[in-house]
Amino acid sequence: TVGCVVVDREGHTSCATSTGGITAKMPGRVGDTPIVGAGGFADDQVGAVSTTGHGEAIMKACLARHITSVMGTGESVKSSIQNGLAHMESRIKGFGGAIAVSCKGEVGTHFSTPRMTWAYIQAGKLHYGIHPN
């Protein structure tokens, strides 16, 4: 799965997520990616999220919407992602990751899987990573 979240100079947000699914899936199985609030969510009043990981778990947790809901309470973006992933792990035993940006330009990335590749550019500076912490 791959994804992207964006905020522009005016605070307009967007998200996009795309996937080939999961190896050996049942033909016709659709995971979280195309589901609003699971594979992605964007609302200029809060921010944008793109998720990745075990699709069935992410759908049950409505992970992208969960994360933006926590962001809306004033929590930091990274803390909001951690909250969503912790909820998904404790309630569903599901693992994944997410990237998010707030409408004010705050960036967060986090994952509960062994690794996740991510990168972002802000003020012309590139940041990236793959390993936990």
Binding site: E10, S14, A16, S18
Partner: protein
């Protein structure tokens, strides 16, 4: 005014060491692609689409070219795009034989009254809007075939590629 940001990911899973460098190069290129669109005056939707197209076109990632295989050795892809300003959304599910599902998702958002089209309907819609079909083999990599040969059971795939704790008793699905 907000400092513009483009953030991308290439998937959360047990990325094997032999893919670390290619994956990092891929996400860096995708972030640059979207940021370039944004700084050239493109919208946030334009930038998100551009970054994801860059990732879909990179065979190291499980999307577009490089997608993993279903149990019957086919590629079925899903994608979504959302405009946070209007909260308009477009998505496709189980679409086949297109290079960039996210482009079809955007067409669904902009050209229909619907949010998601799936299967044959999504493919027919894509064709009607000028999206060229490709040979299924174009999307399939040798790594995808090797991975399917290794994981012939969905639950094994979930356990080995995502989990980091004890093996779950049941996934509740499939």
């Amino acid at each position: 005014m907000v400092e513009p940001v483009v953030v991308v990911h290439g998937g959360a899973w047990a990325v094997p060491e032999e893919l670390w460098d290619e994956s990092l190069q891929g996400v860096k290129a995708a972030a640059r692609r979207g940021y370039g669109v944004l700084t050239a005056g493109g919208s946030s939707v334009d930038a998100a689409e551009a970054s994801v197209v860059c990732l879909e076109d990179n065979p190291v990632f499980d999307a577009g070219t490089g997608s993993v295989l279903t149990f019957d050795e086919q590629v079925e892809m899903d994608a979504i795009i959302i405009d946070g300003t209007t909260m308009e959304a477009g998505a496709v599910g189980a679409i086949r034989n297109v290079l960039n599902p996210v482009k079809v998702a955007r067409l669904v958002m902009e050209k229909t009254d619907h949010i998601m089209l799936v299967g044959d309907g999504a493919n027919k819609f894509a064709a009607a809007h000028g999206v060229q079909e490709v040979d299924p083999e174009v999307l399939i990599t040798s790594l995808a075939r090797q991975t399917l040969a290794k994981y012939k059971k969905y639950t094994s795939t979930v356990y080995h590629l995502f989990n980091k704790t004890e093996k779950p008793e049941t996934s509740g699905h499939e």
